[in-house]
């Protein structure tokens, strides 16, 4: 059986690969959405923090012989801590201002960090091997799926749904959502909003770092790995609806698939297709797929 001249099996395997990429998009845009939601900050540094996560994993292995599994937890923690410091010392002063300022500040942070890593490690990137437990591949019949890629999908789905549940269904999530709109009032109700904000930023960037660690065995660990991605991830968040958790997850996965299909039918366009989707979506649904119109 063929679809538009492509064998069904090939199609299936491309869809699956799209889903893998979508998992990265979902995790990254989820972090962005959480941060935008509560802090009203468009965290441009997200790509750089993703890169930092990957680098930490690499450094852990090369300098301290700490293996993948430990770094999977340690790198997000460290980056989260870094985020906490950034939030406490810098972002904090910008909440009342236009989005623009947060964007600019985090853009500055991005330039600084990428420059720093580049001057130490160069641009060619570092190699990070797939952990032993996950090397090898599943033979699915229609394709060979490396075990590691399957793991990425599983891990990302778990993290995304966990985060979604926490935000949409728990009391803590209600505080977060309310804090998004009127932090002062929520504070007047007795919730420690500043702490919540700090931790949220830490959590959001930790998600980026986690995605970075997950990506390290798949792509070259290089200082520029994040900047290539960040604009696309922004687009994902916007298509999903700024600040919408569900939107970020579903759109992330969906766009991964759309991009995967484009790679088959019109590969040149695969870096641009996200933007085409974005324009179409915003023309029809001004606040994005899952966004609420104010």
């Amino acid at each position: 059986m063929e679809i538009l001249g492509i064998p069904l099996q090939a199609m299936l395997s491309q869809l699956l690969l799209g889903l893998v990429n979508g998992s990265f998009y979902a995790m990254l845009s989820l972090g962005l959405a959480v941060i935008f939601g509560l802090l009203n900050v468009i965290n441009f540094a997200h790509g750089a923090l993703y890169m930092m996560g990957a680098f930490l994993a690499w450094m852990g292995l090369n300098y301290f012989e700490v293996d993948y599994w430990i770094m999977l937890a340690a790198a997000p923690l460290l980056v989260g801590l870094f985020g906490v410091v950034v939030e406490r010392t810098m972002l904090r002063w910008l909440y009342k201002l236009d989005h623009l300022y947060g964007l600019l500040l985090t853009f500055g942070i991005t330039l600084l960090m990428e420059g720093l890593f580049r001057s130490v490690y160069g641009v060619s990137g570092q190699q990070y091997a797939v952990p032993d437990a996950l090397s090898g591949a599943f033979d699915l019949g229609f394709m060979v799926l490396p075990k590691y890629r399957a793991w990425v999908v599983v891990a990302s789905l778990a993290v995304c749904s966990g985060t979604w549940f926490m935000i949409e269904k728990t009391k803590l999530g209600a505080y977060l959502r309310a804090g998004t709109e009127n932090p002062k009032l929520v504070e007047a109700f007795g919730v420690n909003v500043p702490l919540m904000v700090t931790l949220t930023y830490g959590f959001g960037v930790a998600l980026a770092a986690l995605a970075g660690v997950l990506a390290a065995p798949v792509i070259q660990v290089s200082p520029l790995m994040g900047s290539n991605l960040i604009i696309v991830v922004f687009a994902v968040v916007v298509i999903g609806g700024m600040g919408s958790i569900m939107g970020a997850i579903v759109t992330g996965l969906g766009l991964g698939v759309v991009e995967g299909l484009t790679r088959v039918f019109y590969p040149e366009l695969s870096a641009t297709v996200v933007f085409i989707v974005m324009v179409l979506v915003l023309l029809v649904r001004p606040a994005g797929l899952f966004g609420k119109e104010k």
Binding site: F107, G108, L111, E114, F275, I276
Partner: protein, 340 residues
């Protein structure tokens, strides 16, 4: 009165500058200054943050370059072609984006600009990543040979001054008044019978056309046009220039453009000079760290000088004046109390 003196001073300096400073560098600054001012017309006075202005700046550059090089058109028509293409792209992009608000507007402009980027990347005449090279400068009015940097400089100065004049006039025109009203309270403007979308669209097209003027001029000055100018980082750069200089001020974008262009071009020299002066070797590596230094400046600006350089200076004056007034009114109040 003060203002007139200020303008005269600036004009004088601009006329004298090429004899002191390298003209091509000055021309580049001028083009970016015009670009930033055009951008500021949109964000500073209409409140619309576009993240797609590179498409106009670079797109006009391609159009002008193509017109001059491949079609052999004269200088004036080359520039006009650039402006026309920018205005047209502006009309197209604007009519799709204007209907959306806030961050969504910004993102739609980014997305459309990315599509145009794709177009320029693929279009055969644009030369892919090698760019459109060897664009001739031609002659002004068929007479003045522009291959002399000095002659070119005065032409560019005239173009940019003209562009700025258009912006100033627009801001202080009946149209500008409506734009201000829309920026302040859009629903109210609607309820007073203004079709706000059409006003915003005109502002967008104007801004695009002027950005195109800047881009086309830059291409002619430098003699080539590459993908750098249509890439989203260029859209980002112009945001930064405007912000660092001071949003919504007239002089801010000019100052911001100057700062950024200087940073891009002269940081290495500065580092070397510092290195020689202080003997600290590290300074010599500054030239490789334009990105990092730029990043650092933005962090500092955002945290400490949020209104931008010009805005901050303005605020300083204002604060000073206000503190005087406040002292007075306070004493008046206490006087009134006593009498009451």
């Amino acid at each position: 009165m003060n203002k007139k003196i200020g303008i005269a001073l600036v004009l004088g300096a601009a006329l004298a500058a090429p004899f002191v400073i390298y003209p091509v560098f000055l021309m580049k600054v001028l083009c970016f200054a015009l670009f930033a001012c055009a951008f500021n017309l949109l964000i500073g006075f209409t409140g619309l943050l576009s993240f797609g202005h590179a498409a106009f700046f670079g797109g006009a550059g391609y159009a002008a370059g193509h017109a001059l090089k491949a079609m052999g058109l004269p200088f004036e028509l080359g520039i006009a072609a650039g402006v026309a293409v920018a205005a047209l792209s502006g009309l197209l992009m604007g009519s799709l984006a204007i209907r959306r608000q806030g961050i969504y507007f910004t993102m739609i402009t980014l997305a459309l600009a990315q599509m145009l980027y794709f177009l320029y990347l693929q279009a055969p005449f644009a030369g892919g990543e090698d760019g459109l090279q060897s664009v001739p400068r031609g002659k002004l009015a068929g007479v003045v040979d522009l291959s002399s940097d000095l002659a070119m400089y005065f032409v560019v100065l005239a173009i940019c001054a003209g562009g700025l004049a258009v912006i100033v006039r627009t801001v202080h025109s009946p149209f500008g008044q409506v734009l201000r009203a829309i920026k302040e309270n859009e629903p109210r403007a609607v309820s007073l019978g203004y079709d706000v979308d059409r006003y915003k669209l005109l502002a967008f097209v104007l801004s695009a056309a002027l950005a195109g003027l800047a881009g086309a001029t830059k291409t002619v000055v430098l003699g080539f046009q590459t993908l750098t100018d249509v890439h989203w980082t260029m859209s980002g750069l112009v945001v930064l220039m405007t912000l660092v200089g001071g949003l919504g001020t007239m002089a801010g974008p000019v100052v911001g453009a100057l700062l950024i262009v200087v940073l891009e071009n002269k940081l290495g020299d500065l580092g070397n000079a510092l290195g020689a002066l202080t003997g600290v070797e590290w300074f010599r590596t500054l030239g490789e760290s334009v990105g990092m230094v730029t990043g650092f400046i933005f962090i500092v600006c955002v945290l400490a000088f949020r209104r931008g350089i010009v805005g901050e200076i303005g605020a300083l004056n204002w604060r000073f004046i206000r503190s005087c007034v406040q002292v007075r009114s306070q004493s008046e109040i206490s006087k009134n109390r006593q009498s009451a």
